[in-house]
Amino acid sequence: MAEPSADIIYRAQAGDPEALTQLIISQQHYVYSIAMSVLKNPEDAADLAQEAFVRLFRALPQYNGESRFTTWLYRLVVNLGRDELRRRGRQVPVVMPAATEDAQDELASVADDDRWADPALALDSRELRDDVRRALEQLDEHYRLVLTLYYFDDMKYNDIAEVLDIPLNTVKSHIRRGKERLAALLQEQEEPPATLEVSRPKVVERPPSRAANPIALLIAPFGAR
């Protein structure tokens, strides 16, 4: 997430096509990622990204440098995405309820999955990538959005809080719970519902195995360790 220089912003505000082009080149990837995170559809995301840049160009003269340019831009994109979801009749909750005990037990049952033992191998696994993709599609939009912003380079918690207009602690809890929820979704993909029902009691009875398998610790609630 490269913050544009003051010179580029100034020239873009004056309508310099070259500066505008540089803004697009440096930001389109992030704007499109936010749009994809919210809308989950490439065509809709492209339309949203284009609309975001149109709004950006129109609003550029009003940018006064009070906040980071990227924060200002991403907030614009997020608001546009939320407006679009509202227009489609979907609710956009910002604060989520705490994870339930049941969900945490389900997270613990992922302990048998050792595919995460090696980062390089995990990245190379097409099957695992597909699983993660499916899980991300099912992940609640606010978790997906906060995680998307979190993985932007140089994006600080404060910036995310400003973009999403939520408290700093909520950002951190969303990141943590988003990961936990993803792990739970991955576990659900591994096991069909019937299997999950049978295996759940076993999970509760095996706290010692967590220490032996790091993936259990990855997703286990901190207080349970």
């Binding site: 309508g15 697009i24 990245l123 990538r129 993985y151």
Partner: protein
């Protein structure tokens, strides 16, 4: 130095954190190093999967926007964008003025008759006649003092009433014109 619980809490949020205290703990704790590995793998995978490259078609669309410049995107403000209200045609304006003048003239004539009747009834007819005769008397004095002005004065006396009515209409016209600029002949043509 932080303990295992604090270390793992930090790793859950930022597995690749370079925090000094965290690194110090990891250097000495094999269990936490093992804990870090899947966290890193999970994090790396999410970073990769939550990042989408903008499609070339979108880039092309955005570039055309940049080349067009912000001016092409700016829609005129509502006050300018709103269609200009159609101005009335000249014949309509002239008709309205004539009808207005006729109505005013008729009203004045009626008022004059009414006032005359009232003046006669209240016994102020003589005073009013004197007042109306004052200009004539003034002209007679002027003739006596300046005989060469006789032609001019006699002409003015003949057209006095017509001139007074004309003056009244001109004043009313000016008032109406200022009160309702829509009907102004001068403002009929709006610059584009």
């Amino acid at each position: 130095m932080i303990d295992c619980d604090a270390t793992r809490e930090l790793l859950e949020l930022e597995p690749a954190s370079t925090d000094a205290a965290l690194q110090e703990h990891l250097a000495e704790c094999k269990s936490c190093r093992s804990y870090q590995k899947p966290q890193l793998a999970f994090d790396t995978m999410l970073r990769s999967e939550l990042s989408w490259q903008a499609p070339p078609e979108l880039t092309a669309r955005l570039m055309s926007l940049a080349m067009a410049g912000p001016a092409a995107l700016i829609t005129p403000p509502p006050s300018v964008a709103a269609p200009v209200r159609a101005m009335p045609k000249r014949w309509y304006v002239v008709t309205v003025y004539l009808l207005t003048a006729a109505a005013i003239g008729l009203s004045l004539a009626i008022a004059w008759q009414f006032i005359s009747l009232m003046a006669a009834h209240m016994g102020i007819g003589d005073a009013l006649s004197q007042l109306l005769a004052a200009p004539s008397m003034g002209f007679e004095r002027l003739l006596e003092m300046l005989p060469v002005s006789s032609d001019t004065v006699s002409f003015a006396m003949k057209v006095r009433e017509q001139l007074l009515w004309l003056l009244l209409v001109a004043i009313l016209w000016a008032i109406v014109d200022k009160w309702n600029p829509q009907f102004s002949l001068q403002r009929e043509h709006v610059p584009s």
